[in-house]
């Protein structure tokens, strides 16, 4: 029972992180059909930059902010310098972002070397919260879960209740028509890319505090985002949430109960979903 609850909570924490990363990926793909396979690199780079900021200012909050803002700027640059020139050319986008992520991974390795870094979250997040059955659970992980829920609600409100959100959703449905009705689509793309990439950077700091940041995490979170959005459905934020929950839980329960075959289960979930609904659980055909 104890193992079950612990695994369940670990699954929730992981799902929270996956959701934050994957929702950014999904948002960018859903609106712009931009395939950003450098999304994992943005996660890791955001984490490193956040770490540098935390190191020099001593403030964890500033680190979170720096992670978000720096990657939001990186996202805008990506859109302006790369994606704007290859709209609709999915294969080229894929190849270019793969090339970028190779270069980024190598440069990050050169700067921050192979050691893993960990953040020190503020005192009130440190330590453990008493819980029934399992005595206590790290407060920070509960905070990650809360942060993911808050981000999810904020994204939902942003997309459904604000003017920009309405434009973004209109763009998902019919980009040409949106442009024809006088909306500056390029600006909208920049905003969306900034949010999507910023979320990856934010997750880098949050994830670096819950787990750690090290080379290889970029691939791990890219893979997680891919599976989550494939399972949940491209461009759907609720889909990303469901996908993240499913994959996070599967991974943790797999690891806890069948250590050597853990990863196979996430993969099986993906295969089963694809076999039944190729467009993902909440994706539109």
């Amino acid at each position: 029972m104890r193992l079950f609850i612990l695994t369940f909570l670990n699954g929730l924490t992981l799902a929270a992180l996956y959701f934050i990363v994957a929702s950014g990926f999904s948002l960018v793909f859903g609106l712009m059909r931009n395939v950003n396979l450098a999304h994992g690199s943005l996660y890791l780079l955001g984490g490193y930059i956040g770490f540098e900021v935390a190191n020099s200012t001593g403030s964890w909050y500033l680190a979170v902010l720096a992670g978000f803002l720096s990657m939001a700027i990186a996202g805008i640059l990506l859109q302006l310098l790369v994606f704007r020139y290859m709209e609709g050319q999915e294969l080229r986008q894929t190849l270019v972002t793969i090339a970028l992520s190779i270069i980024l991974a190598d440069v990050m390795l050169a700067i921050w070397s192979g050691v893993s870094y960990q953040f020190t979250p503020p005192a009130w997040l440190f330590g453990a919260t008493p819980m029934p059955f399992i005595n206590a659970y790290p407060t920070y992980r509960l905070f990650t879960l809360a942060a993911a829920i808050a981000i999810g609600i904020a994204l939902w409100l942003f997309l459904n209740r604000t003017r920009i959100g309405i434009m973004i959703r209109a763009g998902v449905d019919d980009r040409g028509m949106l442009s024809a009705s006088g909306v500056n689509v390029q600006l909208l793309f920049c905003v969306t890319f900034a949010i999507g990439a910023g979320l990856a950077g934010l997750a880098g700091v949050l994830g670096g505090s819950a787990l750690s940041i090290a080379p290889g995490e970029d691939t791990r979170f890219l893979l997680a985002s891919l599976i989550v959005v494939i399972v949940g459905g491209m461009g759907s934020i609720p889909g990303a949430a469901i996908g993240a929950l499913l994959i996070g839980m599967t991974e943790q329960f797999g690891l806890a109960y069948f250590p050597t075959y853990g990863v196979v289960f996430s993969f099986l979930v993906m295969v089963v979903v694809l076999a039944i609904r190729p467009q993902g659980l909440l994706g539109r055909a």
């Binding site: 395939v35 396979l37 999915e90 294969l91 080229r92 894929t94 190849l95 270019v96 793969i98 090339a99 970028l100 190779i102 270069i103 991974a105 190598d106 440069v107 390795l109 050169a110 691939t219 893979l223 891919l226 599976i227 494939i230 250590p259 050597t260 075959y261 853990g262 990863v263 196979v264 996430s266 993969f267 993906m270 295969v271 694809l274 076999a275 190729p278």
Partner: protein, 342 residues
């Protein structure tokens, strides 16, 4: 009517070449001869580390070219299929299976895996194929890394060597090079032949317009899955050769790095023609071995990433595309000269 009959008679009068010989030009023979005498003049390092390695990676790239160039499906799981075959050879070798059974078993199981991957990914198309196959290959990496009973986790297998058949030590540079050259050459000719068969033509038509092909009564999914199967055979053979050449296989051999390397060298050479992956492989291997003379060995990935980026940005058809552009530019120049002279 009479003229038409005359024409056909004229054609019959010309020397008839078998279908498979019609595309052959003089430079094909030159390249073939050069490849055969290459190991006789090159040192062991150049024969195996550069020559055989390029041929093997080119073969795995060729399987990707078959899928991407003819089928329009960019798959990132070709190295994974190859790696599976390599792992199986190592495992069956440890179990002391007879050589032929080991080879047939490894390649056919890898092909089954490729068909399954094809079946999963052919349900979707375009970018989803890339993402799904990437997810599959990373999942396979983590599987072999974590799995002890079958895949021996992070140690993998070492001391894998080709079996001694006909009393020849296939591990020695010269025999291994000729073995590789022969096998890879056959695979290359097979792909050339396949591209002109009804299946190959249908596959290319499916790439260009799946909806029209579907309405003409072709089973689009079946063609895609079959292409994955054929590519799986090629990749499986490449994987067996690769594990024999390296003498070992471990999770690092099927990690995200080598998976992306196959994509890089195939795109670098060009996806439009089967020779592309081999050109790309030679460039890639030469860079890998000699870029360290110019820059720090640790920064090789930055260099290869940058080269890849430049190629993708400026010549989507790779080096072959550059060659094509150069040829048409030269043709334009000479045409202009002729006009000037007039």
């Amino acid at each position: 009517m009479a003229s038409i009959t005359d024409k056909t008679e004229d054609k019959k009068a010309a020397p008839v070449l078998p279908v498979w010989l019609r595309g052959v030009r003089w430079y094909h023979a030159v390249v073939a001869v050069l490849l055969v005498i290459y190991p006789l003049i090159a040192t062991g390092f150049w024969t195996v580390q550069i020559g055989a390695q390029s041929l093997i990676l080119g073969l795995i790239g060729l399987s990707l070219m078959l899928l991407a160039g003819y089928g329009g499906m960019v798959s990132l799981s070709q190295l994974t299929v190859a790696g599976l075959a390599g792992y199986l050879v190592a495992i069956f070798g440890n179990a002391e299976w007879p050589a032929w059974l080991m080879l047939v078993g490894a390649v056919s199981l890898a092909t089954v895996a490729a068909v399954l991957i094809g079946w999963i990914s052919a349900r979707t198309s375009g970018i989803y194929t890339i993402m799904i196959t990437l997810a599959i290959s990373v999942a396979f990496y983590y599987l072999v890394l974590q799995n002890d009973p079958i895949f021996n986790s992070f140690n993998g297998f070492s001391g894998v060597r080709p079996p001694e058949v006909f009393g020849v030590d296939w591990r020695a540079p010269l025999p291994f090079f000729y073995l590789t050259l022969g096998v890879v050459g056959l695979c290359y000719l097979f792909v050339l032949y396949l591209s002109r068969t009804p299946f190959g033509l249908a596959l290319q038509a499916v790439r260009d317009n799946p909806r029209r092909m579907a309405s003409l009564g072709f089973n689009v999914t079946a063609h895609r899955v079959a292409a994955h199967g054929v590519a799986g055979v090629l990749a499986g053979i490449g994987g067996v050769l690769l594990v024999w050449q390296n003498g070992q296989i471990s999770p690092g051999s099927v990690g995200i790095g080598p998976v992306i390397d196959i994509l890089i060298l195939t795109v670098l050479g060009g996806l439009a023609h089967p020779v592309g992956p081999f050109i790309g492989a030679v460039i890639f291997i030469l860079m890998e071995n000699f870029a360290i003379d110019l820059i720090d060995r640790e920064r090789f990935n930055t260099v290869i990433g940058a080269v890849f980026l430049v190629i993708v940005l400026f010549s989507p058809d790779g080096v072959l595309g550059l060659w094509g552009k150069l040829k048409s530019w030269l043709a334009r120049q000479s045409a202009r000269n002729r006009v000037d002279q007039w």
